[in-house]
Protein backbone atom coordinates (compact mmCIF):
# COMPACT_ATOMS: atom_id res chain seq x y z
CA UNK A 1 0.00 0.00 0.00
CA UNK A 2 1.40 3.38 -0.93
CA UNK A 3 1.71 6.01 1.81
CA UNK A 4 -0.85 8.19 0.06
CA UNK A 5 -3.61 5.57 0.16
CA UNK A 6 -2.90 5.18 3.89
CA UNK A 7 -3.70 8.85 4.41
CA UNK A 8 -6.75 8.64 2.14
CA UNK A 9 -8.07 5.60 4.03
CA UNK A 10 -7.52 7.38 7.35
CA UNK A 11 -9.42 10.36 6.00
CA UNK A 12 -12.27 8.10 4.83
CA UNK A 13 -12.43 6.51 8.28
CA UNK A 14 -12.46 9.94 9.94
CA UNK A 15 -15.28 11.03 7.62
CA UNK A 16 -17.29 7.89 8.47
CA UNK A 17 -16.81 8.46 12.22
CA UNK A 18 -18.00 12.04 11.84
CA UNK A 19 -20.97 10.91 9.73
CA UNK A 20 -21.92 8.21 12.26
CA UNK A 21 -21.75 10.77 15.08
CA UNK A 22 -23.81 13.34 13.17
CA UNK A 23 -26.44 10.71 12.35
CA UNK A 24 -26.76 8.90 15.67
CA UNK A 25 -26.13 11.47 18.42
CA UNK A 26 -29.13 13.45 19.60
CA UNK A 27 -27.33 16.46 21.06
CA UNK A 28 -27.04 19.42 18.68
CA UNK A 29 -23.52 20.30 19.86
CA UNK A 30 -22.25 16.78 19.13
CA UNK A 31 -23.86 16.83 15.70
CA UNK A 32 -21.95 20.05 15.01
CA UNK A 33 -18.72 18.40 16.21
CA UNK A 34 -19.40 15.48 13.84
CA UNK A 35 -19.72 17.92 10.95
CA UNK A 36 -16.41 19.51 11.99
CA UNK A 37 -14.81 16.06 11.88
CA UNK A 38 -16.04 15.56 8.33
CA UNK A 39 -14.53 18.93 7.34
CA UNK A 40 -11.25 17.85 8.93
CA UNK A 41 -11.27 14.65 6.90
CA UNK A 42 -11.55 16.74 3.74
CA UNK A 43 -8.61 18.89 4.91
CA UNK A 44 -6.48 15.79 5.42
CA UNK A 45 -7.27 14.78 1.84
CA UNK A 46 -6.19 18.19 0.55
CA UNK A 47 -2.86 18.00 2.38
CA UNK A 48 -2.23 14.39 1.30
CA UNK A 49 -2.92 15.20 -2.35
CA UNK A 50 -0.67 18.25 -2.09
CA UNK A 51 2.15 16.16 -0.61
CA UNK A 52 1.98 13.25 -3.03
CA UNK A 53 0.45 14.83 -6.12
CA UNK A 54 2.13 16.64 -9.01
CA UNK A 55 3.14 20.33 -8.84
CA UNK A 56 3.41 20.76 -5.05
CA UNK A 57 5.21 24.08 -5.54
CA UNK A 58 1.89 25.71 -6.52
CA UNK A 59 0.74 25.31 -2.85
CA UNK A 60 -2.92 25.00 -3.88
CA UNK A 61 -3.66 22.14 -1.46
CA UNK A 62 -2.17 24.01 1.49
CA UNK A 63 -4.04 27.18 0.57
CA UNK A 64 -7.34 25.33 0.22
CA UNK A 65 -6.81 23.68 3.62
CA UNK A 66 -6.09 27.05 5.28
CA UNK A 67 -9.19 28.66 3.79
CA UNK A 68 -11.26 25.61 4.66
CA UNK A 69 -10.08 25.78 8.30
CA UNK A 70 -11.10 29.44 8.54
CA UNK A 71 -14.52 28.77 7.00
CA UNK A 72 -14.99 25.86 9.44
CA UNK A 73 -14.09 28.14 12.37
CA UNK A 74 -16.70 30.69 11.25
CA UNK A 75 -19.23 27.89 10.84
CA UNK A 76 -18.54 26.55 14.34
CA UNK A 77 -18.92 29.99 15.93
CA UNK A 78 -22.22 30.75 14.17
CA UNK A 79 -23.54 27.21 14.67
CA UNK A 80 -22.83 27.20 18.41
CA UNK A 81 -24.44 30.62 18.86
CA UNK A 82 -27.52 29.39 16.96
CA UNK A 83 -27.65 26.42 19.36
CA UNK A 84 -27.44 28.87 22.29
CA UNK A 85 -30.26 30.98 20.82
CA UNK A 86 -32.43 27.89 20.28
CA UNK A 87 -31.66 26.67 23.82
CA UNK A 88 -32.84 29.99 25.22
CA UNK A 89 -36.24 29.45 23.60
CA UNK A 90 -36.82 25.73 23.95
CA UNK A 91 -34.58 24.93 26.99
CA UNK A 92 -33.17 21.84 25.31
CA UNK A 93 -30.36 20.84 22.98
CA UNK A 94 -31.93 17.49 22.17
CA UNK A 95 -32.69 17.42 18.46
CA UNK A 96 -35.67 15.08 18.92
CA UNK A 97 -37.40 17.66 21.14
CA UNK A 98 -36.74 20.58 18.79
CA UNK A 99 -39.80 20.05 16.64
CA UNK A 100 -41.16 23.55 16.47
CA UNK A 101 -39.76 26.62 14.72
CA UNK A 102 -42.00 28.95 16.72
CA UNK A 103 -40.42 30.05 20.01
Amino acid sequence: MSPMSGYLLLSALLFSIGLAGALTRRNAILVLIGIELMLNAANLNFIAFWRYGPNPEALTGVMFAIFSISVAAAEAAVGLSIILAVYRHSKTTNLDKMNSMKG
Binding site: P3, L10, I17, W50, L59, M63
Partner: protein, 166 residues
Protein backbone atom coordinates in the same frame (compact mmCIF):
# COMPACT_ATOMS: atom_id res chain seq x y z
CA UNK B 1 3.43 3.24 6.02
CA UNK B 2 5.84 4.22 8.74
CA UNK B 3 5.43 3.45 12.40
CA UNK B 4 4.87 7.13 13.22
CA UNK B 5 2.00 7.32 10.72
CA UNK B 6 0.34 4.27 12.26
CA UNK B 7 0.78 5.66 15.77
CA UNK B 8 -0.64 9.08 14.87
CA UNK B 9 -3.49 7.48 12.92
CA UNK B 10 -4.34 5.30 15.93
CA UNK B 11 -4.36 8.37 18.23
CA UNK B 12 -6.56 10.31 15.81
CA UNK B 13 -9.03 7.49 15.29
CA UNK B 14 -9.21 6.66 19.00
CA UNK B 15 -9.78 10.30 19.94
CA UNK B 16 -12.47 10.96 17.37
CA UNK B 17 -14.24 7.64 17.95
CA UNK B 18 -14.33 8.37 21.69
CA UNK B 19 -15.60 11.88 20.96
CA UNK B 20 -18.52 10.45 19.02
CA UNK B 21 -19.41 7.66 21.47
CA UNK B 22 -18.86 8.84 25.08
CA UNK B 23 -21.86 9.75 27.23
CA UNK B 24 -20.53 12.83 29.03
CA UNK B 25 -20.31 15.74 26.60
CA UNK B 26 -17.30 17.38 28.29
CA UNK B 27 -15.41 14.09 27.97
CA UNK B 28 -16.46 14.04 24.31
CA UNK B 29 -14.84 17.43 23.68
CA UNK B 30 -11.67 16.41 25.54
CA UNK B 31 -11.42 13.27 23.39
CA UNK B 32 -12.04 15.43 20.33
CA UNK B 33 -9.06 17.64 21.25
CA UNK B 34 -6.88 14.52 21.41
CA UNK B 35 -8.03 13.50 17.93
CA UNK B 36 -7.44 16.99 16.54
CA UNK B 37 -3.92 17.11 18.00
CA UNK B 38 -3.22 13.78 16.30
CA UNK B 39 -4.50 15.25 13.03
CA UNK B 40 -2.27 18.31 13.44
CA UNK B 41 0.72 16.00 13.99
CA UNK B 42 -0.23 14.20 10.75
CA UNK B 43 -0.18 17.55 8.92
CA UNK B 44 3.28 18.22 10.37
CA UNK B 45 4.41 14.79 9.22
CA UNK B 46 3.17 15.55 5.71
CA UNK B 47 5.34 18.68 5.65
CA UNK B 48 2.60 21.28 6.00
CA UNK B 49 3.85 23.05 9.12
CA UNK B 50 1.69 26.13 8.78
CA UNK B 51 -1.51 24.10 8.40
CA UNK B 52 -0.55 21.94 11.38
CA UNK B 53 -0.03 24.91 13.68
CA UNK B 54 -3.15 26.61 12.32
CA UNK B 55 -5.04 23.42 13.14
CA UNK B 56 -3.77 23.50 16.73
CA UNK B 57 -4.55 27.21 17.13
CA UNK B 58 -7.99 27.16 15.53
CA UNK B 59 -9.39 23.75 16.46
CA UNK B 60 -7.67 22.78 19.70
CA UNK B 61 -7.49 26.38 20.89
CA UNK B 62 -10.70 27.98 19.72
CA UNK B 63 -13.32 25.51 18.51
CA UNK B 64 -12.90 23.08 21.42
CA UNK B 65 -13.10 25.90 23.98
CA UNK B 66 -16.17 27.25 22.19
CA UNK B 67 -17.80 23.81 22.30
CA UNK B 68 -17.05 23.47 26.03
CA UNK B 69 -18.60 26.89 26.67
CA UNK B 70 -21.67 25.96 24.62
CA UNK B 71 -22.04 22.68 26.57
CA UNK B 72 -21.77 24.48 29.91
CA UNK B 73 -24.17 27.26 28.91
CA UNK B 74 -26.78 24.79 27.75
CA UNK B 75 -26.44 22.62 30.90
CA UNK B 76 -25.97 19.46 28.85
CA UNK B 77 -22.82 18.37 30.70
CA UNK B 78 -24.78 15.86 32.78
CA UNK B 79 -24.64 12.45 31.12
CA UNK B 80 -28.41 12.21 30.88
CA UNK B 81 -28.60 12.34 27.13
CA UNK B 82 -31.22 9.79 26.17
CA UNK B 83 -29.90 7.82 23.27
CA UNK B 84 -32.19 7.17 20.37
CA UNK B 85 -33.69 3.76 19.78
CA UNK B 86 -31.19 1.01 19.05
CA UNK B 87 -32.53 0.49 15.51
CA UNK B 88 -31.92 4.19 14.87
CA UNK B 89 -28.34 3.89 16.14
CA UNK B 90 -27.82 0.75 14.12
CA UNK B 91 -29.04 2.31 10.88
CA UNK B 92 -26.79 5.35 11.43
CA UNK B 93 -23.76 3.16 12.02
CA UNK B 94 -24.71 1.03 9.01
CA UNK B 95 -24.92 4.07 6.72
CA UNK B 96 -21.51 5.28 7.96
CA UNK B 97 -20.06 1.79 7.40
CA UNK B 98 -21.40 1.68 3.85
CA UNK B 99 -19.97 5.13 3.13
CA UNK B 100 -16.59 4.00 4.46
CA UNK B 101 -16.71 0.83 2.34
CA UNK B 102 -17.43 2.83 -0.82
CA UNK B 103 -14.68 5.36 -0.04
CA UNK B 104 -12.16 2.61 0.76
CA UNK B 105 -13.01 0.81 -2.48
CA UNK B 106 -12.57 4.07 -4.43
CA UNK B 107 -9.23 4.76 -2.72
CA UNK B 108 -7.86 1.27 -3.26
CA UNK B 109 -8.92 1.12 -6.91
CA UNK B 110 -8.12 4.72 -7.77
CA UNK B 111 -4.64 5.26 -6.36
CA UNK B 112 -2.98 2.35 -8.18
CA UNK B 113 -2.37 4.24 -11.43
CA UNK B 114 -1.40 7.45 -9.70
CA UNK B 115 2.09 8.86 -10.01
CA UNK B 116 3.32 9.38 -6.47
CA UNK B 117 5.68 12.21 -5.64
CA UNK B 118 8.46 10.83 -3.47
CA UNK B 119 10.25 14.14 -2.95
CA UNK B 120 9.14 16.00 0.17
CA UNK B 121 7.72 19.33 -1.06
CA UNK B 122 8.35 22.47 0.91
CA UNK B 123 5.71 24.88 2.19
CA UNK B 124 7.57 27.36 4.37
CA UNK B 125 5.68 30.20 6.02
CA UNK B 126 7.58 32.57 3.74
CA UNK B 127 6.27 30.83 0.62
CA UNK B 128 2.73 30.75 2.00
CA UNK B 129 2.88 34.45 2.80
CA UNK B 130 4.10 35.28 -0.70
CA UNK B 131 1.38 33.10 -2.24
CA UNK B 132 -1.30 34.74 -0.05
CA UNK B 133 -0.16 38.21 -1.08
CA UNK B 134 0.15 37.43 -4.79
CA UNK B 135 -2.02 34.67 -6.15
CA UNK B 136 -4.59 34.38 -3.36
CA UNK B 137 -5.30 38.02 -2.48
CA UNK B 138 -8.98 37.90 -3.42
CA UNK B 139 -9.77 34.69 -1.44
CA UNK B 140 -7.88 36.19 1.52
CA UNK B 141 -10.04 39.33 1.42
CA UNK B 142 -13.22 37.27 1.06
CA UNK B 143 -12.21 35.15 4.08
CA UNK B 144 -11.55 38.33 6.06
CA UNK B 145 -15.03 39.60 5.18
CA UNK B 146 -16.57 36.22 6.05
CA UNK B 147 -14.84 36.11 9.44
CA UNK B 148 -15.99 39.65 10.23
CA UNK B 149 -19.56 38.76 9.27
CA UNK B 150 -19.38 35.56 11.34
CA UNK B 151 -18.02 37.50 14.34
CA UNK B 152 -20.86 40.03 14.21
CA UNK B 153 -23.45 37.37 13.41
CA UNK B 154 -22.39 35.09 16.26
CA UNK B 155 -22.47 38.02 18.69
CA UNK B 156 -25.94 39.10 17.56
CA UNK B 157 -27.29 35.54 17.66
CA UNK B 158 -25.93 34.83 21.13
CA UNK B 159 -27.22 38.13 22.53
CA UNK B 160 -30.15 37.81 24.91
CA UNK B 161 -32.73 40.10 23.33
CA UNK B 162 -35.22 39.81 26.20
CA UNK B 163 -32.63 41.03 28.68
CA UNK B 164 -31.84 44.05 26.50
CA UNK B 165 -35.49 45.12 26.39
CA UNK B 166 -35.87 45.20 30.13
Amino acid sequence: MTISFLLLAAITIAGTAAAMSLRNLVHCVLALTLGLVGLAALYLQLGAQFVGFTQILVYVGAVAILAVFAIMMTRSAEPTEPHGSSSFQLSGALIAGIVFAVLAWAVSSGTKALQVQTLQPEASVNQIGVALMHGFVLPLEVIGLLLTAALIGAGVLAMDETRGAR
